[in-house]
Amino acid sequence: MRIPLSWLREYVDLPATQTGRDVQAKLISVGLEVETVEQLGADLKGPLVVGQVLTIEELEGFKKPIRFCTVDVGQANGTGEPQEVVCGARNFAVGDKVVVVLPGAVLPGGFAISARKTYGKVSHGMICSSDELGMGDDGTKGIIVLPPETEIGIDAIELLQLVDEVLDIAVTPDRGYALSLRGVAREAATAYGLSLRDPALLDVPAPNAYGYPVRVSDACGCDRFTARTVSGLDPEAHSPIWLRRRLQKAGMRPISLAVDVTNYVMLELGQPLHAYDRARVEGAIGVRRAEPGEKLTTLDGVERTLSDEDLVITDDRGPIGLAGVMGGANTEIDETDGTTTDVVIEAAHFDAISIARTARRHKLSSEASRRFERGVDPQAASAAAQRTVDLLVLLAGGTADAGVTEVIAPTAPHTITIPADHPDKVAGVAYGRETVVRRLQEVGCDVYGQDELNVTVPSWRSDLTDPNDLAEEVIRLEGYENLPSTLPKPPAGLGLTERQRLHRRIGRALAGAGYVEAPNYPFIGEQVFDQFNLAADDPKRRVVKLVNPLSDEEPALRTTLLPGLLGALRRNDGRGSHDLALFETGLVFHPREELKVAVRLPVDHRPTDEELAPLDEALPEQPRHAAVVLAGAREQAGWWGKGHPSDWADAIEAARILARESGTGLIVRKGQYGPWHPGRCAELAVVVDGAERVVGYAGELHPGVLKTLGLPARTCAMELNLDVLEQASAGLVKSPHISTFPVATQDVALVVDEGVPHADVEAALSEGAGELLESIRLFDVYENAEQLGEGRKSLAYALRFRAGDRTLTVDEASAARDAAVALAGSRTGAVLRA
């Protein structure tokens, strides 16, 4: 809501010294969000005067038509001689009154005016358009032609009210009343402790039977409808300068007198109005719900198909307006040929929810609907109608007809009972009863009672419904800035949960291992599943879809982190970072087997757990995943020697890091899945409650997939389900017993078939070695067909034996080693390397 300060001063006697910034600060402190204060004409400097065009000489031979004019500016130029001015506009004639800027003046934007030679003539100033004066759009797209009665030579800065300050207020959805000068003036009056001249306090004639016939058949949708008529308007009458200027400053475009007046009254009182050309309305005006499928062409020229929830204004022919949103084209006040002489004025009050739904259904937000949605003062309707009538009579010479129609559904004022100290308890401040009562009265409430206050809220504050609403009024007017600062004492909390700590540990561990975190949007396109070689029945292909995605290319939510993370990898690679190790942890989304609707539960009491459970069942599964991707060098080459490219082993090691941080044993075995290289893919599993569960995959990605996705060769990836990993956690670490007896080390080299996994050999060795084995480590893998035979490989292990209670003898260690080798032999066919 744009509030010109000069207009605001009409209702509150703000001290003359108060600037827009001062008023801004005051209004902010009482809760109006004044975002900016626009300084109109701040850099404007005269002389800027009214002149009358005496002669026009059309200059020939230029690319565009140019006029050389003489203009009578009275004594404003000091000589009384006609002012010679060159002008490129054409919308004026000899005898017109125009605005002339004289040499020495400065126009908005620092544009200094001096006599200068142009188009072969010397131009001593300029004839001005509204644009050049920073007045905003007036619809003329040319120079300003003033009313003929304007006096020659007078100051146009004053005449056009070019210097002003405009407060721009972002009105919150609860404060419909602040979408008016009246509402903002009330806040300003309270903030300054001044009295308000309420523009809605008008003498209004009592309704009678001679008014324009109105039939309201939906009293819930429309609880008040005032109709007034004015006859004999001068169709040639134009909005006076002051009216046009106020509309412009408030951000509206002047259109025609009748429309301008209704807009003006709406800005002043907050009551949306509509003026119908009486000649174009047939029969009684009605208010009803639309028939489904009924059509109406609104003022914006759009034909709209109506729903049976839309409230419409009708005449004998059918709908003539979308109630509270926009009028219809068929009864529009004529703007162009100026034939409207009689008008019907509508000042009605419509149900906020109904208007909100209609505006939303038709994607049509108007000045009227914005106000009705947020609450309009129903008691202001008659005053607004009266104000409109008065202005039309004043400005267009019409006659106010005696007939006054008012259809009013009875409503009781809203009363709230609160303990007198309720605001004190909410704020934590002892305001005392007197202050509470005074503040509520300033808001416009009627207050009765001692310890219990019966508070009747004013008709313009439909937002005040609950005790805390009243508390807020008191606290904001007493000043939020005066609230003390106290700290409550929460009970000792339990700190972070194990799960939360795990998520942090994982982030630190991966970052410590050189990975950079790259969180990505969860939006994906389903074509990625084909690119990932996922099987047709892969559960990851079932996605949660958005009704209104930002991009039709990515209408679904991710079931895997890899598309986003690989996108980040590609982006980095494209920007010249080629050695990359990225990670992400985040939610993925899997629809339930059966999709359900999450019903809207009541809010007037706590739903039962049985009622709440279906809400969660309507939500997709949202497990947290962790993923890494790698490309380029894992270890750089340097003065220390060669580097090392990131490879499948790094990806699998990342999974081991996560397992280690979650205190879980990770099972790594050969696997094959979707985007991974079939020969370089590990399936990752953990044991949860005695059952093995696959948690993810790691390794090098399939060269074909990399090519399709435009990713660097040998890109590697790992992804696993962190939630399952966490479930597999062994819990608290049990401290190992540390033996101080000496260690006995035995190395063995075993030859096995190429296809035998190290993990099997190691497991057999460990089991066979028995409890004397302290640790085992693979330290070499060797393949040499000549020495070992075709298709064979040698695995070399270091075994460390130690007892807790004695020094092991060589024989004991050797026996344990032999047992280990024997078991490995029987399990995997391993033989000691000769």
Partner: protein, 374 residues
């Protein structure tokens, strides 16, 4: 060895003459002193102390002396050998020390060489910023609560007093999720537009009193540009207990900005409107850079707060009793306060991030400098 010769005069034995012994000794000492390396010293050692050395040979002659002469000759030779061995040990230590010093010089390296073998990783500053803010409250006794990102409308809106037709609900630019009937018909499921549904979940599932914070990801249908992102992060706080007041809210906010930005920080509340709080307020913090000194002071403009003196943080207020009722909390007995703000914004003004896109694109050059903590 010669056989004992009883008629022998030791003086007659040339090698045992005192001047001979002295000569042998002096020659040895000179040789050791002249040895300029451990190898040379070793040679001199063999020559002058070995079994074939003059002193060793002379020593052997002592046995041939008559008994009366043995003692004197023995003493003489013994003294000489003692002096030689001492000189040898001394020279040996000298040369070893020289060698050790030389080796240390030779082993010197260029310590300015880089060692970026595995470049450092880093956590994303949005993650660490959320943790840092959460930790302020965890240390006070608050717990961290979590909730789903795909959420039921009831939790996101209705339970928080956003009625179905309230303009505030329309202002949230919500992503809607398809239901059983595809994109026709409402599923009642959305991407949460704020972390506030966790308030309702916490009140429904936890014992009172409740003191929680909830950091997390939220979604609105804004296109990505320099100042907007459809996916962003908030942190939410909720306290519900007996007798909580707006002064407690103010104190908690003050405590937070002091913990994050310094002891002389404070907050400012301005009336505002949110359906789930009443009274509601917009919260600003004092500009931590200029501390307000740039206001009305064109000579010292502040880029962080655009010379406003205050930085807008987010929304807050007293939990609307209607929310308490919907979550089964007796508003006659309990009251509460809540606030929430955007992590991206805080990161932007705390670390001079100029473009929202830097925070969402995952460029390693942006993230690396933030390291492990923020």
């Amino acid at each position: 060895m010669s056989a004992p010769n009883k008629s022998y005069d030791p003086v007659e034995v040339e090698t045992l003459k005192p001047e001979e012994i002295e000569r042998m000794r002096d020659e040895a000492l000179a040789a050791f002193a002249a040895a300029d390396s451990l190898d040379a010293l070793h040679e001199a050692k063999v020559a002058h102390t070995g079994p074939a050395s003059p002193l060793a040979l002379a020593n052997r002659e002592i046995g041939a002396l008559p008994p009366h002469a043995k003692a004197e000759a023995g003493k003489r030779v013994g003294q000489a050998r003692g002096a030689v061995n001492k000189a040898l040990t001394g020279r040996q230590a000298e040369l070893e020390a020289e060698r050790d010093a030389r080796v240390l010089v030779e082993e010197a390296v260029d310590v300015t060489l880089p060692y970026d073998r595995v470049p450092a990783g880093a956590r994303h500053p949005l993650t660490t910023m959320m943790e840092r803010v959460a930790d302020v409250f965890v240390s006070m006794g608050y717990e961290v609560a979590e909730g789903p990102e795909v959420e039921a409308e009831w939790f996101n809106f209705d339970a928080l007093n956003f009625t179905p037709d309230h303009p505030a609900r329309q202002m949230q630019d919500t992503f809607f999720v398809e239901g059983p009937k595809g994109d026709h018909g409402e599923s009642g499921v959305i991407l949460r537009t704020h972390t506030s549904p966790v308030q309702a979940r916490a009140l429904l599932s936890r014992e009172l009193p409740v003191y929680i914070v909830c950091p997390g990801r939220v979604y609105r249908t804004d296109e990505l540009d320099a100042t907007h992102t459809p996916v962003f992060h908030q942190i939410e706080l909720l306290a519900v207990d007996e007798g909580l007041t707006m002064a407690d809210l103010k104190g908690t906010l003050d405590h937070m900005v002091q913990s994050l930005f310094g002891a002389d920080m404070k907050t400012r509340l301005r009336p505002n409107y949110f359906p789930f709080t009443e009274p509601s307020a917009e919260m600003d913090m004092l500009c931590y850079v200029c501390k307000g000194a740039s206001v009305g002071n064109p000579d010292r403009p502040c880029r962080t707060c655009s010379s406003e003196g205050w930085i807008e943080l987010g929304g807050c207020g007293m939990v609307n009793p209607r929310v308490l009722v919907a979550c089964g909390v007796d508003p006659e007995k309990y009251s509460g306060f809540a606030f929430g703000f955007g992590i991206e914004r805080m990161l932007m003004f705390r670390h001079n991030v100029e473009d929202m896109r830097d925070m969402v694109e995952g460029d390693v050059r942006f993230t690396r400098p933030f390291g492990m903590e923020i």
